[in-house]
Symmetry: D2
Subunit: 283 residues, 4 copies
């Protein structure tokens, strides 16, 4: 059977669930999953619904009817996905390979259901990893003088390959609004986090200096506000005085790989919604 995933958010009001489930029923679909959330502060309703159809349906017709009969009336923002489309994921890296290997080994084993049209880097260091997995690699250096030109080349590549979303797998360059605007809530970043916060240039050192017992990693959608976008996934690990800063960083790497991969899986599974600067992550 054909399977659709419908994501909706709209102003909270009475009757949304009833109307959507009735609509799906009229299209001869069977609801196999429904989760919803109301953000009472913002007055916003969120829903993720999956529906199976015994008979093949015309997606365009379905979407047009959905727009006409429901979306207008409830002022919905919505997306409808079919199960058979593999999203195209570009990976941006610099010199660290831990997140890249984690993503590629999941891709390779079939666990991560995406196409990877290319890996892009501002350095050549990881070209060999792309080679190990037979994935095209593009080297676009980024410097003070050519940042704008580099981003033009990035955008050209992204469009040429029909990329759906971008994973910054430890890409050590700030992505500018020019690229973010083309991929809103479609660029996933990973960075270390601390409990409590340690601001400044060397957070691992500051955390170490205060004898911190827990370090973490946060994956989020990239927004113009640096490292302050909506959070997709986080995790932590214990440290102690017996760990050196190098140990902290090694443990941080392990967190980064697992947290980034989980965030990518949530995105690919259409389980994330963003409103204002906040995520709703369906299970």
């Amino acid at each position: 059977p054909m399977k659709l995933t419908i994501l909706i958010h709209c102003p909270d009001q009475s009757g949304i669930i009833r109307s959507v489930t009735t609509f799906v029923h009229q299209q001869e679909g069977n609801v196999v999953y429904l989760d919803q959330h109301v953000d009472k502060q913002a007055g916003v309703f969120f829903m993720r619904l999956q529906s199976e159809f015994e008979r093949e349906i015309a997606l365009d017709t379905f979407k047009a009817k959905f727009e006409a009969e429901l979306a207008d009336a409830f002022q919905m923002e919505w997306d409808i996905y079919t199960d058979d489309y593999k999203p195209k994921m570009a990976i941006f890296v610099s010199k660290y390979n831990h997140c890249l290997y984690d993503l590629l080994s999941r891709y390779n084993s079939g666990e991560l259901k995406v196409d990877i049209p290319f890996i892009l880097s501002n350095h050549k260091d990881l070209e060999y990893v792309a080679g190990q997995f037979n994935i095209p690699f593009f080297h676009i250096p980024v410097g003070k003088d050519n940042k704008e030109e580099a981003e033009e080349r990035q955008l050209a590549l992204l469009q040429e390959h029909g990329v759906d979303f971008i994973v910054l797998a430890r890409y050590m360059q700030i992505v500018s609004p020019k690229v973010i605007d083309v991929y809103p809530q479609k660029i996933i970043n990973i960075h270390h986090s601390f409990l409590p916060a340690f601001v400044g240039a060397k957070p691992y050192h500051a955390a170490f200096e205060r004898g911190v017992k827990i370090i973490g990693a946060t994956s989020h959608y990239v927004t113009a506000d640096l490292d302050a976008g909506p959070i997709i996934e986080q995790d932590v690990t214990a440290v102690s005085h017996s760990h050196s800063i190098q140990d902290f960083i090694a443990k941080g790497r392990d967190l980064e790989r697992i947290v980034l991969s989980r965030a990518v899986q949530l995105h690919v599974g259409r389980k994330t919604m963003v409103y204002n600067n906040k995520t709703v992550i369906f299970s």
Copy 2:
């Protein structure tokens, strides 16, 4: 047998372990536990050693010999504790009772081996809890105008009862240097923490607004630098979009009680050492 716990820190150098274990042996003690740590950055050596003595020894003589034969030569800062002394712990509270109940139920069951000469509060709300456990309760209001006088009264009570250390069990007043200086690294505080940090007056709200997935709590020794003292213990718990700010706060309460109690146990067990602004926590 009599049991001593020796805590030492000094400039890192060759021969410390050998010298201390030889000294203990000469005093007819048997080393039953030894853990050490070298902070290579700071060049400081830390050691926790426990020793059993078949024959009763004179503690004052032991300490004097230790000072003369070892401490001088190695420029040691040291403490020596016997097992049979129960430290006197004062608890400061305001209106929240969750940490207080946690401490008192552990005290009551014999798990927390301290004496509690009194509970002190700037409010009367929790007087009844002190009554439930038959512990003296002192009410010292703190306002803009009487802060100095209130602290004089606090210090008088602390000295009168021979208090060894203070636990701020959600005491919602800033403790001033006047008190901190009398109890350096002997005042234990608890507060919530976030991953990453959310600065400002309402961190729970800021964390909620960004869809944070993990919240935490940190227990630390109080220093003049507000909530920036050396960390004793931390823990975290998972949250999601489905939790309200009230849920965040309730989960924060559960973390606060468990993290504060663990920190107090580490302190009472003589397992914490502080150097610069950092803790070494022995296991």
Copy 3:
């Protein structure tokens, strides 16, 4: 506004969500929460729905209509709860007080919204704790010879006080089917757990002997099959070779209190459903 929580499970089939949300709408209710789950293996649909009503409604009429218009057609098992009823919780204890204190301090602070008609024990040791919180205490000894009679007295007390559910807060007696049958999925137990399993009489010792690194606790509904009922909540904590069996047990106590309290909160919040031997825990 009046608030109802509806819990349903029934054979999985098309149209359930649509029918229930339409029914609630016809009764002038507004769906404020809906979560559902399909156990595909068992072919069972589960739903938790909360609805607000601007106008006061007659609960009996609502239930009768629900039964007539929905429950029959879909072969539903269902419960409907109002928000204003505080369930009556009996606590059974033996000699350990850690879980009891945890429950009572949450009850005392208003966090645990139940009435506690009595605490019952097969020993007198914890009578003083009941006294601290002004809760009636009944001592019913249980021996080889009087087990049946003791359970008759327990049942009489439970019925006399209209108890809705029972918490075994480290009650060291096996509850017999006679009591379980009167309180199916309404008796909550807590016990330690290990990773992996250690069978036999002394699991802490067996786990210790193998150098286990993680210990846990499990809270579950009591069934006739000892300690094998549907799991409500679990948690774990790290241990190491440096911990003694006594440390294991102390850490186990901390887990037991927090896991049992969370399980009780989930039950009181009407967030648990049981089918076959498995729970669905709504968030």
Copy 4:
């Protein structure tokens, strides 16, 4: 400077630490790390000591003196390792690639300081992964009829390449005592674990049926007693009713890779000691 790691266990008695640190001092070494543990039940003393030597020392002479002056007197079992030797690690796999990729990406990035003379499998499925990382791959099928012969070939390969230890990265064959006896406490295995235990052929299914909330993984040294060897490392992750058995298994895979890699790092770092069936894991 040259660095030695000394691992010792012996009957617990007075004077061990003093004697060993004095010996190291006499050899002109400086103790830079010392951790010890006493298993009071077993009456066994464990120590891990690291020592730096300004002058190059003759390892054989050092070992001979150590044996003559200390080991005999204290009935020590001991190992002394230098920092500059990379242990030779063989990897055994079957068809799952997740643990293999994790190990190889750490090896590739220099994080895992070993040599990998070969990967061995009873299937050909993962030969291509060995090729991606340019590591020799040997295919030795194992069936009912050729088990003994297969193990002879395994042992021949292991000896020919001077393998120091073996990692079973999801090798789905029971390793027989013939191989275990040659590599005692030098074969590292990984398997899933549950909380509480679920015995029988399909533990994931049994755990799923009872609505388990936490699943785990355990890495241990292989002994003749199947999956009951001394535990090196464990970790867990949360699951819920919303996860399918396939989700359980995927989460289990993620645990297996991280737990196995951590166990391998502990072994390579000479941080593990085994006595009876229990590990002491130094930090």
